[in-house]
Protein backbone atom coordinates (compact mmCIF):
# COMPACT_ATOMS: atom_id res chain seq x y z
CA UNK A 1 0.00 0.00 0.00
CA UNK A 2 2.99 2.14 0.53
CA UNK A 3 4.28 1.52 -2.96
CA UNK A 4 4.59 4.50 -5.25
CA UNK A 5 1.38 5.27 -7.02
CA UNK A 6 1.91 5.37 -10.73
CA UNK A 7 -0.57 6.93 -13.08
CA UNK A 8 -1.23 3.90 -15.27
CA UNK A 9 -1.31 5.14 -18.83
CA UNK A 10 1.43 7.68 -18.27
CA UNK A 11 3.98 5.01 -17.41
CA UNK A 12 3.61 2.03 -19.72
CA UNK A 13 5.59 -0.55 -17.78
CA UNK A 14 6.59 -3.71 -19.59
CA UNK A 15 4.66 -5.56 -16.90
CA UNK A 16 3.19 -8.88 -17.77
CA UNK A 17 0.39 -10.22 -15.69
CA UNK A 18 0.30 -13.63 -14.09
CA UNK A 19 -1.44 -16.79 -15.23
CA UNK A 20 -4.07 -18.10 -12.85
CA UNK A 21 -4.98 -21.74 -12.36
CA UNK A 22 -8.00 -23.05 -10.47
CA UNK A 23 -7.69 -26.74 -9.63
CA UNK A 24 -10.70 -28.61 -8.29
CA UNK A 25 -11.83 -25.49 -6.46
CA UNK A 26 -14.97 -25.89 -4.40
CA UNK A 27 -16.72 -23.64 -1.95
CA UNK A 28 -19.27 -24.67 0.62
CA UNK A 29 -20.90 -21.93 2.67
CA UNK A 30 -23.15 -23.29 5.38
CA UNK A 31 -24.95 -26.09 3.57
CA UNK A 32 -24.88 -24.42 0.19
CA UNK A 33 -22.47 -25.66 -2.41
CA UNK A 34 -21.52 -22.42 -4.12
CA UNK A 35 -18.79 -23.81 -6.35
CA UNK A 36 -17.97 -27.40 -7.17
CA UNK A 37 -15.00 -28.92 -8.94
CA UNK A 38 -13.82 -25.81 -10.76
CA UNK A 39 -10.88 -26.44 -13.09
CA UNK A 40 -10.02 -23.34 -14.98
CA UNK A 41 -6.91 -21.71 -16.29
CA UNK A 42 -6.55 -18.06 -17.10
CA UNK A 43 -3.67 -17.30 -19.40
CA UNK A 44 -1.19 -14.56 -18.61
CA UNK A 45 -1.96 -11.21 -20.19
CA UNK A 46 -5.43 -12.07 -21.42
CA UNK A 47 -8.82 -10.52 -20.78
CA UNK A 48 -10.83 -13.36 -19.32
CA UNK A 49 -14.55 -12.82 -18.84
CA UNK A 50 -16.72 -14.82 -16.48
CA UNK A 51 -20.42 -14.93 -17.25
CA UNK A 52 -23.31 -16.72 -15.65
CA UNK A 53 -26.61 -16.38 -13.79
CA UNK A 54 -26.96 -14.50 -10.51
CA UNK A 55 -26.10 -16.85 -7.68
CA UNK A 56 -24.00 -18.90 -10.05
CA UNK A 57 -20.86 -18.26 -8.01
CA UNK A 58 -19.08 -15.59 -10.10
CA UNK A 59 -18.30 -13.28 -7.21
CA UNK A 60 -17.41 -16.26 -5.03
CA UNK A 61 -14.91 -17.45 -7.63
CA UNK A 62 -13.31 -14.03 -7.54
CA UNK A 63 -13.20 -14.11 -3.74
CA UNK A 64 -11.40 -17.48 -3.94
CA UNK A 65 -8.94 -15.92 -6.37
CA UNK A 66 -8.32 -13.05 -3.96
CA UNK A 67 -7.81 -15.43 -1.06
CA UNK A 68 -10.96 -14.24 0.70
CA UNK A 69 -13.01 -17.42 0.81
CA UNK A 70 -12.46 -20.74 2.64
CA UNK A 71 -12.38 -22.81 -0.52
CA UNK A 72 -11.26 -26.36 -1.23
CA UNK A 73 -8.79 -27.19 -4.00
CA UNK A 74 -6.06 -24.78 -5.04
CA UNK A 75 -5.91 -21.41 -6.70
CA UNK A 76 -2.47 -20.69 -8.08
CA UNK A 77 -1.30 -17.32 -9.30
CA UNK A 78 1.83 -17.81 -11.40
CA UNK A 79 3.69 -14.53 -11.53
CA UNK A 80 6.24 -14.16 -14.32
CA UNK A 81 8.74 -12.78 -11.79
CA UNK A 82 8.30 -11.36 -8.34
CA UNK A 83 4.66 -11.17 -7.24
CA UNK A 84 3.09 -8.10 -8.84
CA UNK A 85 0.19 -5.91 -7.86
CA UNK A 86 -3.42 -7.01 -7.75
CA UNK A 87 -6.10 -4.45 -8.44
CA UNK A 88 -9.69 -5.16 -7.47
CA UNK A 89 -12.86 -3.32 -8.41
CA UNK A 90 -15.71 -4.56 -6.22
CA UNK A 91 -19.33 -4.44 -7.19
CA UNK A 92 -20.52 -2.38 -4.26
CA UNK A 93 -19.30 -0.09 -1.54
CA UNK A 94 -20.67 0.02 1.96
CA UNK A 95 -20.67 3.54 3.17
CA UNK A 96 -22.98 6.03 4.64
CA UNK A 97 -24.23 8.37 1.89
CA UNK A 98 -24.17 11.34 4.23
CA UNK A 99 -20.53 10.89 5.17
CA UNK A 100 -18.56 14.09 4.58
CA UNK A 101 -15.98 12.45 2.36
CA UNK A 102 -14.87 13.79 -1.00
CA UNK A 103 -13.74 11.66 -3.93
CA UNK A 104 -10.17 12.78 -3.13
CA UNK A 105 -10.58 11.76 0.54
CA UNK A 106 -11.91 8.38 -0.49
CA UNK A 107 -9.14 7.61 -2.94
CA UNK A 108 -6.37 8.82 -0.67
CA UNK A 109 -7.76 6.65 2.15
CA UNK A 110 -7.30 3.68 -0.18
CA UNK A 111 -3.96 4.41 -1.81
CA UNK A 112 -1.86 6.00 0.94
CA UNK A 113 -1.24 5.62 4.64
CA UNK A 114 -1.09 9.33 5.39
CA UNK A 115 -4.38 9.98 7.22
CA UNK A 116 -7.01 10.97 4.68
CA UNK A 117 -8.11 13.95 6.78
CA UNK A 118 -4.79 15.61 5.94
CA UNK A 119 -4.20 16.91 2.42
CA UNK A 120 -2.40 14.24 0.36
CA UNK A 121 1.20 14.81 -0.69
CA UNK A 122 1.65 16.34 -4.13
CA UNK A 123 2.70 13.16 -6.03
CA UNK A 124 -0.18 11.17 -4.55
CA UNK A 125 -2.59 13.96 -5.34
CA UNK A 126 -1.29 14.09 -8.92
CA UNK A 127 -1.64 10.32 -9.29
CA UNK A 128 -5.21 10.43 -7.99
CA UNK A 129 -6.12 13.27 -10.34
CA UNK A 130 -4.53 11.39 -13.25
CA UNK A 131 -6.49 8.23 -12.44
CA UNK A 132 -9.69 10.27 -12.16
CA UNK A 133 -8.97 11.89 -15.51
CA UNK A 134 -8.50 8.48 -16.99
CA UNK A 135 -12.03 7.45 -16.01
CA UNK A 136 -13.48 10.76 -17.19
CA UNK A 137 -13.96 12.24 -13.74
CA UNK A 138 -11.68 15.24 -14.06
CA UNK A 139 -12.78 18.16 -11.94
CA UNK A 140 -14.82 15.96 -9.63
CA UNK A 141 -12.20 15.25 -6.95
CA UNK A 142 -13.93 17.66 -4.58
CA UNK A 143 -17.40 16.16 -4.94
CA UNK A 144 -18.88 14.31 -2.00
CA UNK A 145 -18.86 10.53 -2.50
CA UNK A 146 -22.46 10.31 -1.32
CA UNK A 147 -23.57 12.81 -3.95
CA UNK A 148 -22.22 10.83 -6.91
CA UNK A 149 -24.50 8.95 -9.25
CA UNK A 150 -24.18 5.18 -9.45
CA UNK A 151 -22.19 5.46 -12.68
CA UNK A 152 -19.86 8.09 -11.27
CA UNK A 153 -19.26 5.97 -8.18
CA UNK A 154 -18.40 3.06 -10.43
CA UNK A 155 -15.90 5.21 -12.28
CA UNK A 156 -14.28 6.14 -8.96
CA UNK A 157 -14.08 2.46 -8.08
CA UNK A 158 -12.44 1.82 -11.42
CA UNK A 159 -9.97 4.64 -10.76
CA UNK A 160 -8.89 3.06 -7.45
CA UNK A 161 -8.35 -0.25 -9.27
CA UNK A 162 -5.77 1.52 -11.45
CA UNK A 163 -3.73 2.74 -8.47
CA UNK A 164 -1.07 1.44 -8.24
CA UNK A 165 -0.90 0.16 -11.82
CA UNK A 166 -2.12 -3.45 -11.54
CA UNK A 167 -0.54 -6.57 -13.08
CA UNK A 168 -3.65 -8.57 -12.33
CA UNK A 169 -6.93 -6.67 -12.38
CA UNK A 170 -10.06 -8.29 -11.00
CA UNK A 171 -13.33 -6.61 -12.00
CA UNK A 172 -16.69 -7.54 -10.47
CA UNK A 173 -19.48 -6.29 -12.78
CA UNK A 174 -17.76 -2.96 -13.43
CA UNK A 175 -20.27 -1.87 -16.06
CA UNK A 176 -23.48 -2.48 -14.12
CA UNK A 177 -24.26 1.21 -13.53
CA UNK A 178 -22.20 2.82 -16.28
CA UNK A 179 -23.87 4.98 -18.88
CA UNK A 180 -22.82 4.84 -22.53
CA UNK A 181 -19.94 7.30 -22.13
CA UNK A 182 -18.75 5.42 -19.06
CA UNK A 183 -18.91 2.10 -20.88
CA UNK A 184 -16.81 3.54 -23.70
CA UNK A 185 -14.18 4.76 -21.22
CA UNK A 186 -14.20 1.38 -19.55
CA UNK A 187 -13.66 -0.45 -22.84
CA UNK A 188 -10.78 1.85 -23.76
CA UNK A 189 -9.18 1.25 -20.37
CA UNK A 190 -9.46 -2.52 -20.56
CA UNK A 191 -7.98 -2.35 -24.04
CA UNK A 192 -5.03 -0.28 -22.78
CA UNK A 193 -4.42 -2.63 -19.86
CA UNK A 194 -4.54 -5.67 -22.13
CA UNK A 195 -2.09 -4.03 -24.53
CA UNK A 196 0.28 -3.60 -21.60
CA UNK A 197 0.09 -7.26 -20.68
CA UNK A 198 -2.07 -6.99 -17.57
CA UNK A 199 -4.15 -10.07 -16.86
CA UNK A 200 -7.79 -9.02 -16.51
CA UNK A 201 -10.37 -11.23 -14.81
CA UNK A 202 -13.72 -9.71 -15.52
CA UNK A 203 -17.18 -10.68 -14.29
CA UNK A 204 -19.73 -9.30 -16.72
CA UNK A 205 -23.40 -9.67 -17.56
CA UNK A 206 -23.27 -7.72 -20.86
CA UNK A 207 -22.50 -10.47 -23.38
CA UNK A 208 -22.06 -8.00 -26.26
CA UNK A 209 -19.27 -6.27 -24.33
CA UNK A 210 -17.70 -9.65 -23.61
CA UNK A 211 -17.74 -10.48 -27.33
CA UNK A 212 -16.04 -7.16 -28.11
CA UNK A 213 -13.35 -7.19 -25.44
CA UNK A 214 -12.64 -10.60 -23.96
CA UNK A 215 -10.01 -13.03 -25.24
CA UNK A 216 -11.67 -15.86 -23.45
CA UNK A 217 -14.95 -16.44 -21.67
CA UNK A 218 -16.05 -18.90 -19.02
CA UNK A 219 -19.69 -19.76 -18.37
CA UNK A 220 -20.10 -20.38 -14.66
CA UNK A 221 -23.02 -21.79 -12.76
CA UNK A 222 -21.69 -23.67 -9.75
CA UNK A 223 -19.41 -25.47 -12.16
CA UNK A 224 -17.75 -24.52 -15.45
CA UNK A 225 -20.31 -24.96 -18.23
CA UNK A 226 -18.10 -23.76 -21.07
CA UNK A 227 -14.73 -22.12 -21.53
CA UNK A 228 -13.16 -20.79 -24.71
CA UNK A 229 -13.07 -17.86 -27.12
CA UNK A 230 -16.26 -15.77 -27.03
CA UNK A 231 -17.18 -16.14 -30.73
CA UNK A 232 -17.19 -19.91 -30.42
CA UNK A 233 -18.66 -20.24 -26.94
CA UNK A 234 -21.34 -17.57 -26.76
CA UNK A 235 -23.81 -19.27 -29.08
CA UNK A 236 -27.52 -18.62 -28.42
CA UNK A 237 -28.04 -22.21 -27.23
CA UNK A 238 -25.13 -22.08 -24.80
CA UNK A 239 -26.26 -18.75 -23.38
CA UNK A 240 -29.81 -20.00 -22.96
CA UNK A 241 -28.58 -23.16 -21.28
CA UNK A 242 -26.28 -21.15 -18.98
CA UNK A 243 -28.92 -18.74 -17.79
CA UNK A 244 -31.63 -21.35 -17.38
CA UNK A 245 -29.24 -23.70 -15.61
CA UNK A 246 -30.15 -24.11 -11.98
CA UNK A 247 -27.11 -24.63 -9.86
CA UNK A 248 -28.26 -27.90 -8.36
CA UNK A 249 -31.30 -26.10 -7.01
CA UNK A 250 -29.03 -24.42 -4.50
CA UNK A 251 -28.57 -21.00 -6.00
Amino acid sequence: MNAPVLPPAVSPVAARGPAVAFERVSLLLGRTQILAGIDLSIEAGTVHAIVGPNGGGKSSLVRCLLGQAPHGGTVRIDWPGAPGRIGYVPQALEFDRGLPMTVMDFLSALVTQRPAFLPPKAPVRAAILAALAEVGMEGKAGRRMGALSGGERQRVMLAQGLMPAPDLLVLDEPMAALDEAGALIFETLVGALAARGTTVVWIEHDLAAVRRLADRVTGLSRGVLFDGVPEAELTPERVLALFSHRAGGAA
Partner: protein, 301 residues
Protein backbone atom coordinates in the same frame (compact mmCIF):
# COMPACT_ATOMS: atom_id res chain seq x y z
CA UNK B 1 6.31 14.30 33.59
CA UNK B 2 5.15 15.11 37.11
CA UNK B 3 7.45 18.16 37.33
CA UNK B 4 6.10 19.44 34.03
CA UNK B 5 2.59 18.85 35.28
CA UNK B 6 3.38 20.61 38.55
CA UNK B 7 4.79 23.58 36.63
CA UNK B 8 1.67 23.68 34.45
CA UNK B 9 -0.56 23.66 37.52
CA UNK B 10 1.34 26.47 39.16
CA UNK B 11 1.30 28.49 35.95
CA UNK B 12 -2.46 28.07 35.55
CA UNK B 13 -3.07 28.84 39.22
CA UNK B 14 -0.95 31.98 38.94
CA UNK B 15 -2.88 33.09 35.86
CA UNK B 16 -6.17 32.45 37.66
CA UNK B 17 -5.06 34.44 40.69
CA UNK B 18 -3.91 37.23 38.42
CA UNK B 19 -7.38 37.34 36.89
CA UNK B 20 -6.39 36.15 33.41
CA UNK B 21 -8.21 32.84 33.74
CA UNK B 22 -11.49 31.96 35.48
CA UNK B 23 -10.94 32.29 39.27
CA UNK B 24 -12.00 28.69 39.99
CA UNK B 25 -8.75 27.54 38.38
CA UNK B 26 -6.87 28.84 41.40
CA UNK B 27 -7.73 25.48 42.97
CA UNK B 28 -5.43 22.54 42.33
CA UNK B 29 -8.24 20.04 41.75
CA UNK B 30 -9.77 22.33 39.15
CA UNK B 31 -6.54 22.41 37.19
CA UNK B 32 -6.39 18.62 37.35
CA UNK B 33 -9.88 18.44 35.93
CA UNK B 34 -9.05 20.97 33.24
CA UNK B 35 -5.97 19.04 32.21
CA UNK B 36 -7.95 15.79 32.07
CA UNK B 37 -10.50 17.53 29.88
CA UNK B 38 -7.82 18.92 27.59
CA UNK B 39 -6.56 15.39 27.00
CA UNK B 40 -9.82 13.42 26.93
CA UNK B 41 -11.80 15.81 24.72
CA UNK B 42 -9.65 15.78 21.58
CA UNK B 43 -8.88 12.07 21.80
CA UNK B 44 -12.55 11.13 22.15
CA UNK B 45 -13.52 13.57 19.42
CA UNK B 46 -10.91 12.23 16.99
CA UNK B 47 -11.66 8.56 17.58
CA UNK B 48 -15.36 9.42 17.50
CA UNK B 49 -15.22 10.16 13.77
CA UNK B 50 -14.29 6.52 13.18
CA UNK B 51 -16.95 5.37 15.64
CA UNK B 52 -19.52 7.16 13.48
CA UNK B 53 -18.04 5.91 10.17
CA UNK B 54 -17.92 2.33 11.43
CA UNK B 55 -21.35 2.61 13.07
CA UNK B 56 -20.03 1.62 16.46
CA UNK B 57 -22.01 4.22 18.44
CA UNK B 58 -24.05 1.66 20.36
CA UNK B 59 -20.91 -0.35 21.03
CA UNK B 60 -19.23 2.70 22.58
CA UNK B 61 -22.21 3.28 24.84
CA UNK B 62 -22.13 -0.36 25.90
CA UNK B 63 -18.43 -0.24 26.77
CA UNK B 64 -19.06 2.84 28.91
CA UNK B 65 -21.78 1.01 30.78
CA UNK B 66 -19.51 -1.98 31.19
CA UNK B 67 -17.20 0.33 33.11
CA UNK B 68 -19.78 0.41 35.91
CA UNK B 69 -19.48 -3.34 36.31
CA UNK B 70 -15.70 -3.03 36.05
CA UNK B 71 -15.67 -0.61 38.97
CA UNK B 72 -17.88 -2.93 41.03
CA UNK B 73 -15.60 -5.89 40.35
CA UNK B 74 -12.56 -3.81 41.22
CA UNK B 75 -13.94 -2.73 44.57
CA UNK B 76 -15.02 -6.30 45.31
CA UNK B 77 -11.50 -7.47 44.54
CA UNK B 78 -10.09 -4.93 46.95
CA UNK B 79 -8.81 -2.27 44.57
CA UNK B 80 -9.08 1.36 45.78
CA UNK B 81 -12.55 2.64 45.02
CA UNK B 82 -11.16 5.93 43.69
CA UNK B 83 -9.41 4.21 40.80
CA UNK B 84 -9.93 0.47 40.33
CA UNK B 85 -8.08 0.57 37.01
CA UNK B 86 -7.03 -3.08 36.95
CA UNK B 87 -10.59 -4.35 36.98
CA UNK B 88 -11.81 -1.49 34.81
CA UNK B 89 -9.38 -2.14 31.97
CA UNK B 90 -9.56 -5.92 32.44
CA UNK B 91 -13.31 -6.26 32.48
CA UNK B 92 -14.02 -3.72 29.75
CA UNK B 93 -11.41 -5.22 27.42
CA UNK B 94 -12.86 -8.69 27.93
CA UNK B 95 -16.33 -7.25 27.30
CA UNK B 96 -15.30 -5.53 24.07
CA UNK B 97 -13.17 -8.35 22.71
CA UNK B 98 -15.79 -11.01 23.51
CA UNK B 99 -18.42 -8.93 21.77
CA UNK B 100 -16.28 -8.57 18.68
CA UNK B 101 -15.43 -12.27 18.71
CA UNK B 102 -19.08 -13.30 18.84
CA UNK B 103 -20.24 -10.72 16.30
CA UNK B 104 -19.22 -12.85 13.34
CA UNK B 105 -20.11 -16.15 14.94
CA UNK B 106 -23.67 -15.91 16.16
CA UNK B 107 -25.43 -14.71 13.02
CA UNK B 108 -27.03 -11.98 15.15
CA UNK B 109 -26.92 -8.37 14.08
CA UNK B 110 -24.48 -6.20 16.01
CA UNK B 111 -27.16 -4.19 17.81
CA UNK B 112 -28.96 -7.31 19.04
CA UNK B 113 -25.74 -8.80 20.35
CA UNK B 114 -24.72 -5.55 22.05
CA UNK B 115 -28.18 -5.34 23.63
CA UNK B 116 -27.74 -8.82 25.09
CA UNK B 117 -24.23 -8.11 26.37
CA UNK B 118 -25.12 -4.73 27.76
CA UNK B 119 -28.00 -6.10 29.84
CA UNK B 120 -26.01 -9.06 31.11
CA UNK B 121 -23.17 -6.78 32.10
CA UNK B 122 -25.44 -4.29 33.88
CA UNK B 123 -27.19 -7.11 35.73
CA UNK B 124 -23.84 -8.42 36.91
CA UNK B 125 -22.74 -4.93 37.94
CA UNK B 126 -25.98 -4.27 39.83
CA UNK B 127 -25.69 -7.56 41.69
CA UNK B 128 -22.13 -6.92 42.78
CA UNK B 129 -22.93 -3.37 43.83
CA UNK B 130 -25.70 -4.57 46.12
CA UNK B 131 -23.32 -7.05 47.68
CA UNK B 132 -20.92 -4.17 48.24
CA UNK B 133 -23.57 -1.76 49.52
CA UNK B 134 -22.90 -2.63 53.13
CA UNK B 135 -19.17 -2.26 52.80
CA UNK B 136 -18.64 1.11 51.14
CA UNK B 137 -20.26 4.47 50.90
CA UNK B 138 -22.58 3.92 47.97
CA UNK B 139 -22.53 7.62 47.14
CA UNK B 140 -19.11 7.30 45.56
CA UNK B 141 -20.97 5.50 42.83
CA UNK B 142 -22.41 8.79 41.74
CA UNK B 143 -18.89 9.79 40.81
CA UNK B 144 -18.43 6.64 38.80
CA UNK B 145 -21.76 7.01 37.05
CA UNK B 146 -21.67 10.70 36.21
CA UNK B 147 -18.09 11.80 36.63
CA UNK B 148 -16.55 14.08 39.17
CA UNK B 149 -13.85 16.67 38.82
CA UNK B 150 -13.18 16.67 42.54
CA UNK B 151 -11.54 13.29 42.53
CA UNK B 152 -9.25 13.53 39.48
CA UNK B 153 -5.80 12.67 40.81
CA UNK B 154 -2.32 12.85 39.35
CA UNK B 155 -2.45 9.11 38.68
CA UNK B 156 -5.69 9.51 36.77
CA UNK B 157 -4.13 12.20 34.61
CA UNK B 158 -1.00 10.15 33.99
CA UNK B 159 -3.09 7.15 32.90
CA UNK B 160 -5.30 9.33 30.74
CA UNK B 161 -2.29 11.02 29.13
CA UNK B 162 -0.57 7.70 28.41
CA UNK B 163 -3.70 6.09 27.01
CA UNK B 164 -4.61 9.23 25.09
CA UNK B 165 -1.23 9.44 23.41
CA UNK B 166 -1.24 5.79 22.36
CA UNK B 167 -4.84 5.93 21.13
CA UNK B 168 -4.21 9.14 19.19
CA UNK B 169 -1.07 7.75 17.54
CA UNK B 170 -2.71 4.45 16.57
CA UNK B 171 -5.88 6.18 15.35
CA UNK B 172 -3.91 8.48 13.06
CA UNK B 173 -1.60 5.71 11.86
CA UNK B 174 -4.39 3.28 11.01
CA UNK B 175 -7.03 5.86 10.06
CA UNK B 176 -7.05 5.05 6.33
CA UNK B 177 -7.04 1.34 6.96
CA UNK B 178 -9.98 1.58 9.37
CA UNK B 179 -11.83 3.58 6.73
CA UNK B 180 -10.97 1.18 3.89
CA UNK B 181 -12.09 -1.83 5.93
CA UNK B 182 -15.44 -0.19 6.55
CA UNK B 183 -16.00 0.57 2.82
CA UNK B 184 -15.39 -2.93 1.53
CA UNK B 185 -13.53 -5.58 3.57
CA UNK B 186 -12.51 -7.60 0.51
CA UNK B 187 -11.05 -4.58 -1.25
CA UNK B 188 -9.23 -3.58 1.95
CA UNK B 189 -7.75 -7.09 2.26
CA UNK B 190 -6.58 -7.06 -1.34
CA UNK B 191 -4.85 -3.80 -0.53
CA UNK B 192 -3.05 -5.45 2.36
CA UNK B 193 -5.23 -4.28 5.25
CA UNK B 194 -5.52 -6.89 8.05
CA UNK B 195 -9.27 -6.32 8.39
CA UNK B 196 -10.03 -8.71 11.26
CA UNK B 197 -7.05 -7.69 13.36
CA UNK B 198 -7.98 -4.04 12.89
CA UNK B 199 -11.53 -4.76 14.10
CA UNK B 200 -10.06 -5.99 17.36
CA UNK B 201 -7.67 -3.06 17.54
CA UNK B 202 -10.55 -0.67 17.07
CA UNK B 203 -12.68 -2.09 19.87
CA UNK B 204 -9.61 -2.04 22.10
CA UNK B 205 -8.91 1.61 21.29
CA UNK B 206 -12.51 2.55 22.05
CA UNK B 207 -12.40 0.53 25.27
CA UNK B 208 -9.19 1.90 26.75
CA UNK B 209 -9.98 5.51 25.97
CA UNK B 210 -13.45 5.05 27.44
CA UNK B 211 -12.07 3.57 30.64
CA UNK B 212 -9.44 6.27 30.98
CA UNK B 213 -12.10 8.97 30.63
CA UNK B 214 -14.58 7.47 33.11
CA UNK B 215 -13.20 9.56 35.95
CA UNK B 216 -14.26 12.91 34.55
CA UNK B 217 -17.19 11.99 32.33
CA UNK B 218 -18.62 9.00 34.15
CA UNK B 219 -19.59 5.54 32.99
CA UNK B 220 -23.08 6.44 31.83
CA UNK B 221 -22.07 9.28 29.55
CA UNK B 222 -18.53 8.61 28.34
CA UNK B 223 -19.77 6.80 25.24
CA UNK B 224 -21.73 9.92 24.32
CA UNK B 225 -18.57 11.97 23.91
CA UNK B 226 -17.40 9.49 21.29
CA UNK B 227 -20.61 9.99 19.37
CA UNK B 228 -22.10 13.47 19.82
CA UNK B 229 -19.16 15.67 18.66
CA UNK B 230 -18.59 13.47 15.63
CA UNK B 231 -22.30 13.42 14.84
CA UNK B 232 -22.44 17.22 15.11
CA UNK B 233 -19.36 17.61 12.90
CA UNK B 234 -20.80 15.23 10.34
CA UNK B 235 -23.87 17.36 9.82
CA UNK B 236 -21.95 20.53 8.94
CA UNK B 237 -18.76 19.39 7.21
CA UNK B 238 -18.14 18.56 3.58
CA UNK B 239 -14.83 16.70 3.68
CA UNK B 240 -12.96 14.38 6.01
CA UNK B 241 -10.70 17.27 6.98
CA UNK B 242 -13.60 19.35 8.26
CA UNK B 243 -15.24 16.31 9.83
CA UNK B 244 -12.22 15.34 11.93
CA UNK B 245 -11.17 18.91 12.78
CA UNK B 246 -14.66 19.95 13.88
CA UNK B 247 -15.23 16.76 15.85
CA UNK B 248 -12.02 17.32 17.82
CA UNK B 249 -12.90 20.98 18.33
CA UNK B 250 -16.47 20.27 19.47
CA UNK B 251 -15.30 17.61 21.92
CA UNK B 252 -12.68 19.98 23.33
CA UNK B 253 -15.11 22.88 23.70
CA UNK B 254 -17.77 20.66 25.29
CA UNK B 255 -15.31 19.19 27.77
CA UNK B 256 -13.82 22.52 28.83
CA UNK B 257 -17.19 24.24 29.02
CA UNK B 258 -18.66 21.31 30.95
CA UNK B 259 -15.87 21.50 33.52
CA UNK B 260 -15.56 25.27 33.85
CA UNK B 261 -19.17 26.51 33.66
CA UNK B 262 -20.51 24.59 36.69
CA UNK B 263 -17.48 25.69 38.73
CA UNK B 264 -17.80 29.32 37.76
CA UNK B 265 -21.55 29.46 38.27
CA UNK B 266 -21.45 27.30 41.40
CA UNK B 267 -23.87 24.78 39.95
CA UNK B 268 -24.11 21.40 41.68
CA UNK B 269 -24.00 19.56 38.34
CA UNK B 270 -21.76 16.51 37.82
CA UNK B 271 -19.02 17.17 35.25
CA UNK B 272 -20.08 14.33 32.96
CA UNK B 273 -23.63 15.59 32.68
CA UNK B 274 -22.45 19.15 32.06
CA UNK B 275 -20.00 18.02 29.36
CA UNK B 276 -22.62 16.01 27.52
CA UNK B 277 -25.17 18.83 27.80
CA UNK B 278 -22.65 21.19 26.22
CA UNK B 279 -21.95 18.66 23.47
CA UNK B 280 -25.68 18.27 22.98
CA UNK B 281 -26.13 22.03 22.60
CA UNK B 282 -23.38 22.08 19.97
CA UNK B 283 -25.11 19.22 18.18
CA UNK B 284 -28.47 21.00 18.18
CA UNK B 285 -26.73 24.14 16.95
CA UNK B 286 -25.17 22.24 14.05
CA UNK B 287 -28.48 20.63 13.14
CA UNK B 288 -30.14 24.04 13.16
CA UNK B 289 -27.33 25.52 11.06
CA UNK B 290 -27.75 22.75 8.53
CA UNK B 291 -31.48 23.34 8.36
CA UNK B 292 -31.06 27.09 7.89
CA UNK B 293 -28.03 27.26 5.60
CA UNK B 294 -28.62 25.45 2.31
CA UNK B 295 -24.86 25.38 1.59
CA UNK B 296 -24.34 22.87 4.40
CA UNK B 297 -26.69 20.34 2.90
CA UNK B 298 -24.05 19.51 0.34
CA UNK B 299 -24.59 18.79 -3.32
CA UNK B 300 -27.90 17.19 -4.19
CA UNK B 301 -27.61 13.44 -3.82
Amino acid sequence: MSTGFEAFRQWVQALAEGGYLPPSLAYGFAVNALLAGLIAGPVLGGLGTLVVVKRHAFFSEAVGHAALTGVAIGILAGEPYTGPYGALFGYCLIFGIALNYLRNRTGLSADTLIGVFLSMSLALGASILLVLAGRINIHILENVLFGSILTVSGTDIAILAGVGLVVLALTAFFFNRFMAASFNPTLASVRGVPVKALDYLFVMLVTVVTVASVKIIGAILVGALLVIPAAAARTVSRSLKGFVALSVLFALVATLAGILIPMELDLPVPSGAAIILCAGILFLGCTAARAVLPALKGDPA
